[in-house]
């Protein structure tokens, strides 16, 4: 059961698509790119920086030329996108349109826009840069992101195969089959549909045959149209599928991502009409489209000659189309059919486009200049097909550091034969094959010849980096592949160096030593994820939903109309619609609060008392069974990070609580110290299995007396007391607490019984004026008592003394966590304290208000509320007092003005504690 794509709605298979207002017919096997090309579209995009016209080039998903906005999604590789699944297509950039782009003037202004110009210009005046940045961001790029796209909720699917194969060519299929035949589980991922991009021929036939074998193995999971994003430690390879993100956790990985045709760098090599040979063959052999009417081809390998055959078969069906010339080495010339002019051992040195773009021309190719031993020839043509060799598509492979990864096929041996690719796939799939080891991974292409260094032309099509710009950057001192990459952004575009890496290395090799430093030793730039552009929705797949804890009473809160808020991972009621009413219920009658979110632990074992005594800064040994004590949690630096209660249970050890959001950290702290000291203690986390309901208010006993026969008077259950009682027939641990400053009892009970107890208390409490209270009321109630909340009022470096809780630290104890640090800190004058502040008048300052003394800033307010009973604002605030004594008066400045206040003493309410001890 895999859920259907629960994000973007899928359109039914379409027979036409909308391209910038034009209806374009679509054939069943069309990609968006082939459908547009058939309809006469030649300019597919505008380049990143200079807005040069760009047409189809590689058709293998490597170059940026066919990136378009598809159904609102920018930068989609249209040469890999099935046209029948698309409704609207538009070119991403260009003003007023990509076809007639006035911004192409930037090419003529390039002398003013050298590489890194934005680092060096617009420094003064400083206000200019934000404006310039806005203009640059608008002018450059691949198109705006649509803001009205539907939210896509993508899910993950985890796989744990023994082998992951990335790439569904001959080598990849062979690797998958070899592993499956050994009985291993295999995941095979390919960017497209396996074999679909190959023109008919031996490679296609072999892929089809292997694919047929693949289907017979149930242990192979095939992921098609699935992009391997990166190779992470684990190993983990996230693969973006059509409708979900696959997280593959394999034991071994075979990367068989193949090779990409070598990119050519010469003036005009980026013109529409210039194709790489595999792309042109795909256009002809798969989509039955001729790349032009007059085609010139450069073929330097047998494979390129195969592509020539494919092209000729297509043009033979296409009246008026022809291959007019082939530039080939003499060794291959015999494969050029009669009737086609052959230029031996030549090289294309320039290409020219048609002028008059604004007059309606597509600006495509009109002629190429070929240099041969006999001089230069200009040949009129509208398509140039370049079969100059192959470069490994190794962006993923090079991400391997110490993962068990093996390359297979063309990614390690570009241009290898089908038989060699298959053999290499079989070998790579073996568990015994060599694996990449940290620092020892040898990039296979280091022994390959690098392309000649050009002085003109675009090295990087993605980022519009010219050969001359590399030279300029070199002259400015950026003299390595990595520095050039960062300064010029070469290799940082959509292709991630697939096309330009070899040229960059060749350039650095030549500049950094020439003959004395062969270009082959220049390492490529570091490869990092993503290997292919990835959508944000894929990165968010499966993790967009935050963890959300609900107490057993969650539905009760919602039924009572509670507004919920986050407290750590918990959802808790802020209020039930009437904060003051809730507050008054506590002060005047009785109220309930769900405190099930508290961390709750039982500590037992022979060393339990010794352990807690050494852990906490308060005394534990003198805590009699049936008594509890407030305790701070300090780290080794003496800083406060949580607080809670310690309840002595007698033979059962201790029951301790932590704050709702601090429980996880506190548990780790407990376990770390228990292990580190080697004490015989057992720590049971009862947070999930025990709920807790806080009953507070002067009528608490009156309420509970209706539901229990157990004694709950001050003698039986005094302040700080702990006892086992039954309430409404439910066994509870009752703890007398005092956070809100009234008679309060926490009832801790089995979680699934909490709703029953809540209901019983509600039913019985009607006559007592019972109502629940939420966090908003709690924050005022505790503030009136001057109690801080760890995390809200405290900082990372809050010591007990700073927050006025030195009384909870017993320095006479020989040892506890943080004692040494507190001893040292005690010798340093305290210059900052959390102080109780009182504000007379009709309002309390806002939380976060800044505090001033005689105009000098001294601190800020962490908690602040107006107390209805006291008729004044009460607050806690951090105040600096380097002179020693804290100031007597402060001024709070917030968004509404200034409020005068005084530094006072807490508690503000019931200072003698008579009510909570009642």
């Amino acid at each position: 059961m895999i859920a259907p794509d629960n994000g973007r709605p899928k359109a039914p298979k379409a027979s036409r698509l909308d391209f910038e207002g034009r209806a374009i017919p679509v054939a069943p096997d069309d990609t968006v790119a082939s459908a547009l090309y058939r309809a006469g579209v030649r300019i597919f995009s505008r380049s990143f920086k200079y807005h040069r016209r760009r047409g189809l080039y590689c058709l293998t998903g490597d170059c940026p030329n066919c990136l378009m906005t598809v159904d609102g999604e920018p930068a989609v590789r249209t040469c890999r996108t099935p046209a029948t699944e698309v409704r609207t297509v538009a070119r991403g950039s260009g003003w007023p349109s990509a076809g007639h782009d006035l911004l192409s003037i930037l090419w003529r202004l390039r002398a003013f826009l050298p590489v890194g110009f934005y680092y060096k210009s617009m420094i003064r005046p400083r206000w200019l840069w934000p404006l310039a940045e806005r203009v640059i961001r608008r002018v450059a790029g691949l198109g705006p992101i649509a803001r009205d796209l539907p939210v896509v909720n993508r899910e993950r699917l985890n796989h744990h195969p023994e082998l992951l194969v990335v790439g569904g060519g001959v080598a990849g299929l062979a690797a998958a089959l070899a592993a499956a035949q050994r009985g291993e589980t295999v995941v095979l991922a390919d960017e497209g549909v396996i074999g679909e991009g190959l023109a008919p021929g031996p490679a296609r036939a072999r892929v089809d045959a292997l694919r047929a074998q693949l289907r017979r193995h149930g242990s192979i999971t095939v992921l098609e149209r699935a992009l391997a994003i990166g190779l992470y430690q684990g190993p983990l390879v996230p693969i973006a599928g059509a409708d979900r993100l696959h997280l593959v956790h394999p034991a071994r990985i075979v990367v068989a991502t193949g090779a990409v045709e070598s990119h050519a760098v010469f003036p005009g090599s980026d013109l529409p009409g210039v194709f790489l040979a595999r792309g042109a063959a795909r256009l002809a052999g798969v989509h039955h489209l001729s790349p032009g009417r007059r085609i010139v081809m450069v073929a330097t390998s047998d494979e390129a000659m195969d592509h020539l055959d494919t092209l000729r078969a297509q043009v033979a069906r296409d009246a008026g189309a022809s291959v007019v010339a082939v530039v080939a080495p003499r060794a291959l010339a015999a494969r050029v059919p009669a009737g086609v002019e052959v230029l031996h051992d030549g090289a294309v040195v320039a290409a020219f486009g048609r002028r008059g773009v604004l007059a309606g021309s597509d600006g495509g190719l009109r002629a190429v200049v070929v240099a041969t031993g006999g001089g230069r020839r200009t040949i009129a043509c509208d398509a140039l097909v370049l079969g100059l060799g192959l470069e490994p598509r190794d962006g993923l492979l090079r991400q391997a550091v110490c993962e068990p990864v093996q390359g297979a096929g063309e990614v390690v041996s570009p241009g290898c034969t089908l038989a060699e690719a298959e053999a290499s796939g079989f070998a790579a799939a073996s568990p015994d094959s060599t694996i990449a080891v940290a620092g020892a991974f040898v990039w296979p292409a280091t022994e390959r010849a690098l392309p000649p260094v050009a002085s003109k032309g675009f090295v990087c099509l993605c980022e519009d980096v010219e050969a001359g710009e590399l030279a300029q950057a070199w002259d400015e001192g950026y003299r390595s592949t990595e520095l050039l990459k960062r300064y010029t952004t070469v290799t940082m575009g959509a292709c991630q160096g697939a096309l330009c890496q070899a040229h960059l290395r060749a350039f650095v090799g030549e500049r950094s030593g020439g003959a004395s430093r062969p270009t082959a030793v220049v390492r490529p730039t570091v490869a990092r994820p993503p290997a292919r552009p990835v959508r944000l929705e894929d990165l968010a797949a499966g993790v967009r939903v935050p963890l959300e804890y609900h107490t057993a009473l969650h539905s009760r809160h919602l039924a009572l109309g509670a507004t919920m808020e986050w407290t750590g991972a918990w959802k808790r009621p802020s209020h039930y619609g009437d904060v003051e009413g809730e507050y008054r219920a506590v002060r005047e009658n009785v109220s309930l609060m769900d405190v099930s979110t508290l961390g709750k632990y039982q500590i037992a074992g022979a060393d339990a008392m010794r352990f807690l005594e050494r852990l906490y800064p308060c005394h534990i040994a003198d805590l009699a069974p049936g008594r509890s004590r407030y305790a701070l949690l300090l780290n080794e630096a003496g800083y406060l990070f949580d607080d809670g209660l310690v309840c002595a249970l007698g033979d059962d050890g201790y029951y301790i609580t932590f704050t709702s959001s601090g429980a996880d950290a506190a548990e780790s702290w407990l376990r770390e110290w228990a292990e580190s000291w080697g004490y015989n203690v057992h720590i049971a986390n009862l947070t999930w299995s025990r709920s807790a309901i806080h009953v507070a208010g002067p009528r608490t006993r009156e309420l509970l007396a209706k539901l229990t026969d157990d004694p709950i008077d001050a003698a039986a259950l005094p302040y700080g007391g702990v006892s086992a009682i039954r309430v409404a027939g439910i066994a509870c641990r009752a703890i007398r607490v005092g956070f809100v400053g009234e008679l309060s009892i926490e009832l801790h009970l089995p979680t699934r019984l909490a709703p029953a107890l809540w209901d019983a208390l509600f039913a019985a409490g009607t006559e007592c004026g019972l109502r629940p209270h939420g966090l908003d009321a709690l924050k005022l109630l505790r503030l009136e008592k001057g109690h801080f909340i760890v995390g809200l009022d405290t900082d990372f470096d809050s010591t007990p003394a700073k927050v006025g809780a030195a009384w909870a630290v017993k320095m006479e104890k020989p040892d506890f966590v943080g004692r040494t640090a507190l001893e040292r800190l005690a010798k340093i004058p305290r210059e900052r304290s959390l102080l109780p502040l009182s504000f007379a008048g009709p309002r309390a300052p806002e939380e976060g208000a800044q505090l001033f003394v005689a105009g000098a800033h001294v601190g800020h307010i962490t908690s602040s509320r107006f107390s209805p009973l006291l008729g004044k604002g009460v607050a806690l605030g951090w105040v600096r007092h380097p002179e020693g004594s804290p100031p007597l008066a402060v001024t709070a400045r917030d968004t509404r003005g200034e409020v005068a206040g005084i530094v006072t003493r807490a508690p503000f309410y019931d200072p003698r504690g008579e009510r909570l001890r009642a």
Binding site: I2, R156, W688, S689, P750
Partner: protein, 168 residues
Amino acid sequence: MLEIGRFCAGIVECHASPRTLDALKVPAGVHRCRVAPDELLLLAAPSRTEELLRRATAHLAVVEPGAIAVDQSDGWTIFGLPGRLPDDEGMLALRQLAMIPFPERRPAFVQGAVAGGSAKLLLLPGIVFLLVPFALRDHVERRLREVGGGTLRIAAEEIPFAGLAAEG
């Protein structure tokens, strides 16, 4: 349609030294889930909770005073997902929510994150019991429904966890 059941179980958590826990014998029908060397989860029908707690407490009191057994039945919500093979519906739902590798052997017990929260999984022939903290019951249910995309039904009522052969 994938039917996911809800179960209530008697769950007793024992904290003691590894040797003590190794020596703890449990009656038939009780699943021993070793959470950590010094922590053991016993899973049985809810009707057997008290008996289990009593037996465990008695054993610990004799063998290792200070060790504890606590009733954690209320701390967990249990979902039962049918399936054994990785591509069975129930397993597929889990694979969308968990990075944990699921062993093919049965019975098996694994722990890890499911839907971002801590979880334990008891894998028995034909069914996987997913134990998540009670506080995560709504969250996990929501995530199961989301990955199910309308092809999944989760039982509204809990039924007692019982009737499955256990490994002692």
